[in-house]
Symmetry: C2
Subunit: 414 residues, 2 copies
């Protein structure tokens, strides 16, 4: 079986490498030899072991009837979307690691694939090398999936781990992550949670069997998290993680990406560095967790190649298409319920405590001995809706006794 | 698609329940409705919701051409093996949760299935509801699998967790497990490691693509583990777990089931109660971990139903058959390498320490303050072969300074 790779970047070259290196065991699993016939890229790679396969002419890929499977590792929407459609029209299956394209245009692309009798597979788009898309859609198929909770971005998890372990600021940890190749020069998509948001949208669409639009998911990043926040979390026997949650609420779906306080008893609390982990709750299995390297050249390439092998074995057409519902299928963010850790800087601590009680009723205070901070009160709130919460935070801010609301961080339920 | 269930026990009735309860979402995933047409059992179940489906006549199952898939949840070898073969001859696919049958007769049964153009699937035989068989054979197909390390038995993990948390003896914890339905009246298969051994044999056969015979795997259980052992482990910042390991060593396979000392940094150390977890090491993905409920009615049933859905969707024949190698494919146990925690009761501590040094060279002592134990020396050895180790333990036993070698527990490498 001959395939082509679009985009000879980190993942694309990794795919060529894995297929070259493990060709015999891959052939055993797939039932036939898999060969990379062409690699499409506009750049030159004179020193690459794959240089003779590289072409700049798309027609050499799309016009070649011997190429049955296209691996798209270009990323982004534009060209990637155009080439994906062109591959489908030419009757070729597509395997991708492109989470942005799947999250934004999944419904249309799956439909076109199905109409053309080919597959569109994207195991590598979430969780890097961790098998999660196929377990979710196949292994857990007998379950009603109630919810998904996950650490889906290695860059932010690395930064948070670094901050906590080495007592350094967010920006120092970010610079370190960039130096070590764990964060890009423009880290916005990772740090502000957009990457995590696309991934939870994809997982939710599979789990709940209808399209969950990433643009409708409330998303906050970690750039406002400080060491002091982490020390308060520690005092609560917890850590702070960037967590995506998604769950069925009646006929609707609730999803959110934000930093949260995670109790150390929770299995996600111990997931450190660039590792990712996803907890899936099903009605029959209870909770299952999938853990591993969420990014990186070879882990991601291995997920791509697993999809290629699947197509070689089954040569099937995509059957499951994500429907966009006519009516809104999302729980409005303001209606969702959460408890929080709130930090306020007080002009006068006694007055502030009285004001906090006026606004929130009885609260639980969290005390942590943090150098340089002595005017603060930190407390955890009862659970309430997000609208209710932001209203009350607004009230706090208007109090004379309170200088500033320093931070508000949600608490993950166990 | 009509199916039949053989054996209306815990798992069998769970399969009927899951199919009844989640019929709509299962039909969505499978592409058609799945119905239980017959249940074969020699017992009567007058109060069961499935009573009208139950028959005692095998011919009603095997002779019915409408039944395309047989779910075998009888367990054991005898009848289960006979009925599995009969199903294959009748051109029916078989899905099972029967680890003993798969571990012992997998090569023959897979061959018969392939010859008859049907599937033999057994996701439920390992890890209960945790998806592991399919991820190992499909999702990680692009990897050379180097090793597997796992907690594969919920009963023993529950007992060890109970002992450690509640400071109770093995036998008290066992009685508690039996009371709570986590251990059978005859707990031998669980407690002595046989169940774990069958499971690691199945996982190894898939991972290494050739049959690994469970009767060739060195297997020890947990019945000799005491609270004092756990306290020494705690002093090493570790816990004791019943762990199955399996890895490729050159052209051969090494596999072992035994209690081991696991450092708390290891992801398996935090797996408590009846939970199972499996760490798979692949050349491309690195380490991935799968975690969840390793047993129980609905988790196991959900794995069975996932296999049924797979067959409904693909209607394929088993392609991968496990070959039995003519020559021995196992690393002889005596050649395998390990480090250990050794406890000796001394007649005279100073003399014993000198004798220990004579036998083992320089060792690291582990000190723990354990009530009622004051004549002991505990130490960890360097890594050495099992033959070498047992020879040296023999020497220790012959020393006049040493009353007794109290226990020898292997240490898991990180």
């Amino acid at each position: 079986m001959d395939i082509a790779i679009l985009g000879y970047g980190v993942v694309g070259s990794g795919v060529a490498e894995v297929i070259r290196k493990n060709s015999r065991s891959i052939a055993d699993r797939a039932g036939e030899q898999i060969r990379v016939r062409k690699i499409l890229d506009i750049r030159d790679f004179p020193d690459s072991p794959d240089r003779e396969l590289i072409t700049k002419d798309p027609e050499e890929v799309f016009g070649d009837p011997e190429i049955k499977i296209i691996v798209e590792t270009i990323g982004g929407i534009g060209v990637a979307q155009e080439y994906t459609k062109r591959a489908f029209s030419a009757g070729k299956h597509v395997v991708t690691s492109n989470k942005e394209l799947v999250a934004v245009h999944g419904p249309e692309l799956l439909k076109i694939a199905a109409d053309n009798g080919v597959s569109y597979l994207f195991e590598a788009s979430v969780g890097g090398g961790i098998p999660i898309i196929r377990p979710l859609s196949q292994c857990l198929a007998a379950n009603i999936i109630n919810g998904i909770t996950g650490i889906l971005n290695g860059t932010t998890n690395y930064i948070l781990t670094k901050m906590r372990r080495e007592n350094c600021s967010f920006s120092d940890a970010l610079v370190n992550a960039q130096k070590n190749g764990y964060a890009e020069a423009d880290p916005t998509a990772d740090v502000e949670g957009h990457d995590t948001c696309r991934k939870i949208a994809i997982l939710s669409s599979i789990a709940f069997n209808e399209y969950v639009d990433c643009s409708r998911i409330h998303t906050e990043g970690i750039s406002r998290i400080t060491l002091a926040d982490m020390m308060y979390a520690e005092a609560m026997d917890s850590v702070i993680k960037l967590i995506a949650v998604s769950r069925r609420e009646g006929d609707r779906v609730f999803a959110r990406v934000s930093p949260v306080v995670v109790n150390k008893e929770h299995p996600l609390a111990g997931v450190e560095d660039v590792f990712n982990a996803i907890v899936v709750s099903g009605d029959a299995i209870g909770d299952a967790m999938f853990y591993g390297r969420g990014a990186g050249k070879l882990p991601t390439a291995s997920a791509v190649v697993a999809d290629v092998i699947d197509i070689v074995k089954h040569n099937e057409s995509t059957k499951t298409v994500w429907q966009r519902r006519d009516t809104d299928n999302m729980v409005p963010f303001g209606e969702s319920v959460t408890g929080c850790l709130v930090r306020v800087a007080a002009r006068n601590k006694n007055e502030a405590a009285a004001d906090i009680e006026k606004v929130f009723g009885r609260v639980e205070y969290v005390s942590a001995d943090i150098k340089g901070i002595d005017d603060e009160l930190a407390f955890t709130t009862a659970k309430m809706t997000e609208s209710n919460l932001s209203e009350r935070i607004g009230e706090l801010k208007s109090m004379r006794s309170i200088k500033e609301v320093v931070n508000v961080i949600r608490i993950l339920e166990l």
